[in-house]
Symmetry: C2
Subunit: 205 residues, 2 copies
Amino acid sequence: MKQAGAAVSQSERDTKQIIVDTAERFFRDIGYQKTTVADIAKSLRMSPANVYRFFDSKKSINEAVLERYKREQEEAIASIAAEDRSAAERLRDILATSYRLNAARFAGHARMQEMVCAAMEESWDAIIAHIERFDVVLRGVVADGIARGEFRPMEPAQATGCIRTAMIRFMHPLLITQCECIPGPSPDDMISFLLSALEARPSQS
Amino acid sequence: MKQAGAAVSQSERDTKQIIVDTAERFFRDIGYQKTTVADIAKSLRMSPANVYRFFDSKKSINEAVLERYKREQEEAIASIAAEDRSAAERLRDILATSYRLNAARFAGHARMQEMVCAAMEESWDAIIAHIERFDVVLRGVVADGIARGEFRPMEPAQATGCIRTAMIRFMHPLLITQCECIPGPSPDDMISFLLSALEARPSQS
């Protein structure tokens, strides 16, 4: 194990990255359960002990793979939230982008479900933390839309929870695959429907 | 196996019902995977061959258990849909009742997930048929609300798909359990949010 506080060199960061890339390929191709740290080490011509210098368990490697997914999504939506556009347009783009990123990773890759299931059992706190960061960004845009009069007056946190929950079929890695064969709206249709719950009503004459 | 077309006596219907009740208890208590037809037979002091007279496989027994759940839900919502109340009230009641029935069966019974997962792998057509019957009832109420001017003009089938999909966290047996620890709206709050997407807008003066 690395000493706490030891400086991390560029080459160590590169090695860590290569381990994560390799693990991700294994998880996608043969599944999380069947992949061993020894498999990952062997394919990199490393000793398992060398992999364990960077990650203390397969669980830690899985967290690093998912961490990267989450970070990419969080950066993408934060950047959309900061754009100078209407709240409705930014909200639409945030939800559509989140779906697109998740679908690209999980749709059609049945084995990717194993790593997500494992994370749901082993790393629940990390998932909750990701949901909370997602909510912070969404809530900012909703609050902005209310302040501008684009959206009807409501509690931004409440609306954010409803939007995120209503979109779960397009966000949850397992549902993205499972719901492919269930008739239902496209992500764009769903987003339009949710925006119509938010939009300001013309005041009655 | 029973002869096709043979008359089914009351006592045979009773036996079938008892097998389904017993299987349901096993599935809830020890899980679908670990339950065998021999377990069910033994607890009823029957021979496995006698159980097989009524159901040709554990899969068929599972379908009968889930069939009952689905029928109860479908009857409950059809009866609400036929009431003489506003479309919004009936819609609210249909969604809240569906959640309540599913939560009573699945929330807090981790082992019930196994029978649902098995059905999703083995009996997908039956699940799709249930969703379609649910949609028919919901769509009727939505169309009625549009015709009465309670809801804004829209395509009833499209709105129905959006509502059902948005409510999946409160309907899908696996999500009812899994999402218990994720912060989010109550079913009532979610339903109110979706109704606000439907409601007719006052025309601009």
